[in-house]
């Protein structure tokens, strides 16, 4: 009788324990972007402060770094120098663009005047581009290959090392 209880108990418990072990070390809040390896969603957006609209189509031939950010976001402030430096160092090798996420144009202009800027930031009307790219929050940065495929999505503030590695990865595709 005890053996039978043990068998039934094991039958119920073991799969649950297995499920638990499988999920250990997995962050339930992390959802991998289904867009990696897919064609980057198209956009045509106007830069902050005016100027000709920028379309993703026109950027083919070089890797594109698309950084979603906002002035109210502290990690964005933190990564700004790294991005600015990388954009200057890689001028001619890669396109860098900021995409404004839930922020006001005047605020962004003020921020860029104060902190300096090496690449255009684009205005995203009603967050449509952010939605098309599956942005959850800022900063999130997409690395697009020269033929327009999303190679990697980086969540959180970028470091100079990460930018260099991911741009290389995007251009190698």
């Amino acid at each position: 009788m005890n053996k039978r209880v043990l068998a039934v108990g094991g039958l119920v418990t073991l799969p649950l324990v297995g499920l638990l072990l499988m999920s250990l070390g997995h962050d339930p809040h992390r959802v991998d972007s289904p867009l990696i390896g897919q064609k980057a969603p198209a956009f045509t957006l106007t830069p902050v402060g005016g100027g000709a609209p920028v379309s993703l189509e026109s950027l083919r031939g070089k890797p594109v770094v698309l950084n979603f950010w906002a002035t109210w976001c502290a990690p964005c402030f933190e990564e700004h120098p790294a991005l600015t430096q990388a954009a200057r160092a890689m001028a001619g090798q890669a396109h860098f663009f900021g995409v404004i996420y839930e922020d006001e144009e005047e605020q962004v202009e003020g921020f860029l005047k104060e902190q300096g800027s090496a690449y255009p930031s684009l205005l995203d009307d009603a967050g449509k581009t952010a939605i098309a790219y599956g942005v959850y929050g800022v900063p999130e940065t997409y690395f697009v290959s020269p033929d327009g495929v999303i190679v990697e999505k980086y969540v959180g503030p970028l470091t100079p090392k990460a930018i260099t590695a991911l741009v290389a990865q995007a251009s190698a595709r």
Binding site: V8, D32, P41, T44, A126, I131, A132
Partner: protein, 188 residues
């Protein structure tokens, strides 16, 4: 006079705006066309549009909230997504197309109800399976005591030879059985 002129100008401007809108679909609709193709349903407007947009927005998870639909969440992201759902529904995209469009950006996670495919079958069937299994366990447990009830009295007597004399004495005193043995047993 000038007010009439102003009204005329604003009417012209709004007509021009709708004309431009008609020629170039908005970014969201253009992206949706790339992902899920041409709209399968009829373009909607007015009350029908609002009702359908609400119904579809209730099926989408707000990515920055905890288990709230895009319709219910007050976050600005949900507001933007709601606006886009409305736009797509107005253009004639049906429920499946709208959900698939958002799923491409955010993954299956964006659907509040997991679709019946792959491992999701477990989510749908496990409760039913659990209920059936639980029913069997309860039935088994209820059936058990009757089967186990019978062989108790005689077992202890033979089990422990040390206790046997005491047991016989107790039975002798309690029941008046000679030497503690039940009369019909002793006859055998």
């Amino acid at each position: 006079m000038s007010r009439k002129l102003l009204a005329g100008v604003s009417l012209l401007l709004s007509l021009a705006a709708t004309g431009v809108h008609g020629q170039a679909p908005s970014l969201g609709v253009a992206n949706a066309r790339q992902v899920v193709g041409a709209p399968k349903g009829q373009p909607l407007a007015g009350v029908a549009l609002e009702a359908e947009a609400k119904r579809v927005a209730l099926l989408l998870r707000c990515p920055v909230c905890q288990g709230l639909s895009v319709f219910e969440s007050p976050s600005s992201m949900a507001l933007n997504m709601r606006g886009q759902v409305r736009e797509l529904v107005a253009a004639g995209y049906d429920e499946d197309q709208v959900l698939r469009y958002f799923e491409r950006s955010y993954g299956e996670f964006v659907r509040l109800e997991p679709p019946l495919r792959g491992m999701n079958w477990v989510v749908w069937l496990a409760p039913i399976g659990g209920l059936v299994l639980g029913g069997f366990v309860v039935a088994w447990a209820l059936r058990k005591p009757k089967a186990a009830a019978a062989p108790e009295t005689s077992a202890t007597l033979d089990d422990d030879p040390e206790l046997q004399p005491y047991l016989l004495r107790v039975r002798e005193l309690a029941y008046g059985w000679p030497a503690g043995v039940k009369p019909e047993d002793s006859r055998r």
